[in-house]
Structure formats: structure tokens, C-alpha cells
Amino acid sequence: MPGEAVSCRGLKKYYADVKAVDGLDLSVGNGECFGLLGPNGAGKTTTIEILEGLTVPDDGQVEVLGMTWKQNERRLRERIGISLQETQLSEKLTVHETVRLFRSFYPAGPDPDSLIHDMSLDEKRNSRVGKLSGGQKQRLAAACALVGDPDILFLDEPTTGLDPQSRLQLWEVVAKFRSLTTHYMEEAERLCDRIAIVDHGHLIALGTPKELIAKLEAPNIIEFTSDPALPPDTFQDIPGCHGCSPRGNAWQLRVDSLAEAVPQLIAAVEESGAKLVTLSTHAATLEDLFVSLTGRELRDA
């Protein structure tokens, strides 16, 4: 299916003292899994809520499935599924009652029990929502998002606060669908066809996970500390090094080949008379890209 599922141009939303979204352009194609990645307060939730028609932007155009919220609100509501950040579904109702309630709002969709089965909630079918674990609640929220058999699925931080196993379980569900916001770069890398990185309401990078990581111009990262700490000019000229940035009291080097760069780095440190304290390497991630783009870390920025 070619064409655009979601598009927005020049999106702006200012609150009293923050520019939550400041001139954002995005375009998501049909069948694409699109991730919005950024630190807390970057404007992810505001952006997704504008796209979901829950927040009215101060400026800019939004089209979802070729329609606007102003003219086709009800038809759009029937075709999108949403999981909001931190919604508390009624604790006094059971899982089945909750899914059946949401199912009744949509003209078509899967049978509540088959959906409960897909979400691995069979055992909890008749349990009160208040008694569910965090992961079960998130899966229930996902079930409520899928209950109208949507064309577009919007998930806002679907796995926040979950243990690794629950996250994996939810990823499997999401993998069948498309579109989410997250501040977990691992989640975005694994699930998304394309990712937009946002910060302070601006788009700072856009592309497939591979393209984005390629922007670092180096597939590998070396992280090291030395005693005493060294100035960057002692090691930034080693062959295949594309740059360095401080990370805490360590240095991060972006390099082409580990086999080439590591011995050179060790030699350079020894030559300067300092002692190597720690050294670790990993393949470059979106987190590294964010650090190199903003000089800050994703999670506690």
C-alpha cells in the first residue's frame, strides 16, 4: 500500500514556558513502523497526541490516512488504535470486561477473547485490572488499542517501567503493528523501520536505524578511562578515529575498525606516560548517535 499514513508539517505547540513542539515535519508511509526517539521533555508525547487528535497544535497541518482531525474526527477514531502514557484503566473491572467495553465502541474488530489470548492474558481473563502486574496492564492497554482492528497504532512509551521479559513480550505484539514513541533506543532499533530523533521540539535526525548509525561515520565505539586523564589531542589522531566526546569521566572514540584502533590507543596512552584504567568497546547504537548530536545522554538528558 503506497502513500502516507501520517504526515505533519510545521507543527508547533507552545505551552506557557516551553516550546514543546517547535516546527516539526514528519511523514510516515503505509506499512511503516516509525519510532520517535528522544529524551524526556523532548516533545514526543505532545507530538503523538497532536497526531492522535487529542491536542490541538498552535500551528501546522496534520493529516492521518489522508484526513484531518477537524473534518473527520469520528471516522479517524474508528481507524486508529491508541495506547496513552500512564492511563489507569478502571481497577474494579476485569480484563475481559475492559476489553469488551472498548470493543463496543468500534464498528468492527476482533473477538475480545481472541485478543485476550493474543496478549497472553487468558489466565487473567477474570482478574480485576487492579490486581495485574505492570506488564499485564501494558498488554491490556495494547489490547484496548488493537480492539478496533486499527489501520494505525499509536503507542506512547509502551514498555516504560517493565521488566525485560514483559518488554520482549510486548515487542512481539508491536512487531506486528507500526508506530510508537520511546526513549529506549534498543526498542526503537529493534522494532522500527525508520526513526525520528527529537530534542527540544525539533527533529534532529531521521532515517532507518542503519542510516542513523552510519551518520556516526564509524561502526564502533571505544570507551576508556586513564590515570591521569588525557587531553583529546593525545589520541584523536590515531588512524580510523572519526571523533571523540567525553562521557562522564571517560572518553568515547568513534572508530572504523577495533582491531586497528585498540592497539594504537593502548600505545598512545602508554606513550604519554599515563596508565589505562578501563577499556570497553561496543557496536555503535542510537544512544551514541544522540550523544554525538547533542552532547547529552538520552535517558537522563
Binding site: E52, L54, R74, R77, E78, I82, L84, E86, T87, Q88, L89, S90, K92, L93, E97, R100, L101, F102, R103, S104, F105, Y106, P107, D111, P112, D113, S114, R128, C144, G148
Partner: protein, 346 residues
């Protein structure tokens, strides 16, 4: 086999009803509290033989004869005391009258005390009769104790009205403010659910509980205190539904913007307090100055209480409470309209 999907309005009403039934404390406040109140007040004001007023006879040669004469009056409880004791007893209110017949017959009492005046009249009648006085005109007493004119007959419709107000306002207001706070309202409007259906379902589930509430309280009044519905059950039903509608609207309006439960609680109490005091729940508002009565009569609880009393106590036909119904319906329509207009969904 796939499950049959019921219409959203039925699902919404059904889950709201289940939520309420599963909320144990709410059940007590809706059903238990008014019964306890009715029971306590009913017993405190139940009819009983009028108390005998204690009176003292000063010790003397004729005091026993006087006590015997006084005992014939159903309103007096006489005893013999010496001068000092009688003085103290009168001063402390233990007796309302001291009778001194040592010289001429003398009554000592506080003329501002109703008991003192009653005792003086009763004692004088009893002593004069014992001394041989004959009434020049024969008379007899006829006691009025009609069903429908007792305090409990006044109280039960008032409690019914008060309960309809409390549950209507809390039932709507608290649920809505709570759902807004938990972002459940926001989640719901992210679906194709119609907003009017949500509000309608809140009212429908109110009607279900209202039925139970009214039956429980009316049956209790009838079984425990013999308070009957003298008018038609149909008129009572219509009154309760329209009253419930008015207060649901008021609850919706109260909760239409509030962001916190504390905020909505304060506002609720602010709105309900004047009606608890002025709308004739526990005592008639006839005691208020006539200048404020038109305002009191404009309050929905006043109208509901007046109409409930007219139907339950005086067997008024529906046509006679039409003005009351009109005022209640107006309250409902206006509060629902404004409440929905300014409603904050997220």
C-alpha cells in the same frame, strides 16, 4: 463462538454499575447511612406519652392529701420536700413548681418556663377540684395523632430527598473527576465512543441505584415506623426520577472542570450545604423569614422535598406537583447543558 458485542451505551452502563457494586464503602454511604439516620432520628422523636412535670409540695400537715390530689393529674409528678430542699430543686430545675399551702395556697415557679406555667395550671385545677370546685361547662379531650402528621412522617420524605441529592451529585461528580484524574476520560475520547453516551450511561446507572435506594428507604420507613405512601407509587416514581435527573446534572456541572478529587469534594459540599440546612430535610423551612423563602423554594432539594411530602403524606395527585417537577426538570436541563458545554475531557 465469537462473543456478541452489545451497544456501547449498555456496556458503559453495565461497567459503571459493576464498578459501583464492587466499591464497598460507597454501598454503605448510599444505602446504610440514610437508614441509620432515619433509625436514630425516628427513635429520638418517636411519639410517647407526654412527660409528667415534677412538682414539689412543701412538707406540712396537709401535704399527703395534696400529693394524692395532684397525682390524679396525668401531667404532674408530685413529691414532698422541705423548704430548703424545695428551694434548691426549683433553682436547679429538678422541679418546675413548688406548692406552699402553709398559709394561703401559693405557687412558686418561673413564669418564663413553659413547664412551670403548665404545672401551675394543672396543679391549681387538681387542688381546686379536690377542694370541691365543679366545672361550669362540661368538656372532653380529643387527641390528634393522625398517620401522616407525625415527625417521622415528615422526616422520611426529607431523608429520601436528601439521599437522592447526595447520591446523584456524588455518583456523577466523583466518578467523573476520578476518571479525569486517572486519564481514563482521555483514553475514552481517543476511541470512537460518543461523549453523550458516556454521560448518558452515568445517568442510567444512577437510575438503577436510585430505584434500589428509594425502595430500601421507603420500605424501611413503612416497616419500622409505619410511614406510608398515601399518594400513588407512579407519582413517587416520577418524582424520584426527575429529582435524580436534576441532581445528576448538578453533579455533572460540579465535576465538569475539576482536576482533583479534593476540588470536586469542596465544591460539592459548598453546593449541598445550603440545601441540607434550608430545604426542609429535618425541619420545615417555614421558620425562615419570608424574604428568603422565594430563594429557598427555588432550590431543587426544596422542590423535591415538598413534592415528596405532598405525595407521600397528603396523597397529592401528580397534577398538584407539576410545578415542582417543572422546577426540577429546569435544574436538570440547565445544569446538563452547561456542564457538557464546559466539560474538560482531559
Amino acid at each position: 463462538m465469537p462473543e456478541k458485542i452489545r451497544p456501547a451505551i449498555i456496556e458503559l452502563t453495565s461497567v459503571r454499575t459493576k464498578e459501583f457494586v464492587r466499591e464497598t464503602e460507597a454501598i454503605f454511604w448510599v444505602f446504610g447511612f440514610p437508614l441509620i439516620l432515619a433509625l436514630a432520628l425516628g427513635f429520638a422523636f418517636r411519639e410517647k406519652a407526654p412527660d409528667r412535670v415534677p412538682v414539689a409540695v412543701l412538707a406540712g400537715p396537709s401535704s399527703q392529701k395534696e400529693v394524692a390530689a395532684l397525682s390524679k393529674s396525668p401531667a404532674l409528678s408530685p413529691r414532698v420536700l422541705n423548704e430548703a430542699e424545695a428551694h434548691d430543686a426549683l433553682r436547679h430545675g429538678k422541679v418546675s413548681l413548688v406548692i406552699d399551702s402553709s398559709h394561703s395556697l401559693t405557687y412558686r415557679y418561673d413564669p418564663t418556663s413553659p413547664d412551670g406555667r403548665t404545672a401551675r395550671r394543672e396543679a391549681d385545677d387538681a387542688l381546686q377540684a379536690a377542694a370541691g370546685r365543679r366545672d361550669v361547662m362540661p368538656a372532653r379531650d380529643e387527641f390528634v395523632r393522625e398517620q401522616g402528621a407525625r415527625y417521622i412522617d415528615f422526616l422520611i420524605p426529607g431523608l429520601l430527598g436528601m439521599n437522592l441529592m447526595g447520591t446523584g451529585m456524588w455518583g456523577m461528580g466523583f466518578t467523573i473527576a476520578n476518571a479525569r484524574m486517572k486519564k481514563l476520560l482521555k483514553r475514552l475520547i481517543a476511541t470512537p465512543m460518543r461523549k453523550s453516551q458516556y454521560v448518558m450511561s452515568q445517568f442510567l446507572s444512577r437510575l438503577i441505584f436510585l430505584t434500589v435506594e428509594v425502595i430500601v428507604l421507603v420500605a424501611f420507613g413503612w416497616l419500622v415506623f409505619g410511614v406510608r405512601v398515601n399518594g400513588s407509587i407512579l407519582a413517587l416514581t416520577i418524582l424520584c426520577i426527575v429529582g435524580g435527573y436534576a441532581f445528576s446534572g448538578l453533579g455533572l456541572l460540579t465535576a465538569s472542570r475539576a482536576r482533583t478529587l479534593e476540588g470536586v469534594s469542596g465544591l460539592m459540599n459548598l453546593i449541598m450545604m445550603p440545601m441540607w440546612l434550608c430545604s426542609g430535610v429535618f425541619f420545615s423551612y417555614e421558620r425562615f423569614p419570608s424574604s428568603v423563602k422565594p430563594f429557598i423554594r427555588a432550590l431543587p432539594l426544596t422542590m423535591l422535598n415538598d413534592a415528596l411530602r405532598a405525595v407521600m403524606n397528603d396523597a397529592a395527585p401528580l397534577t398538584k406537583v407539576l410545578p415542582h417537577l417543572a422546577v426540577l426538570a429546569a435544574w436538570g436541563i440547565v445544569t446538563f447543558a452547561i456542564g457538557l458545554k464546559i466539560f474538560r475531557w482531559q
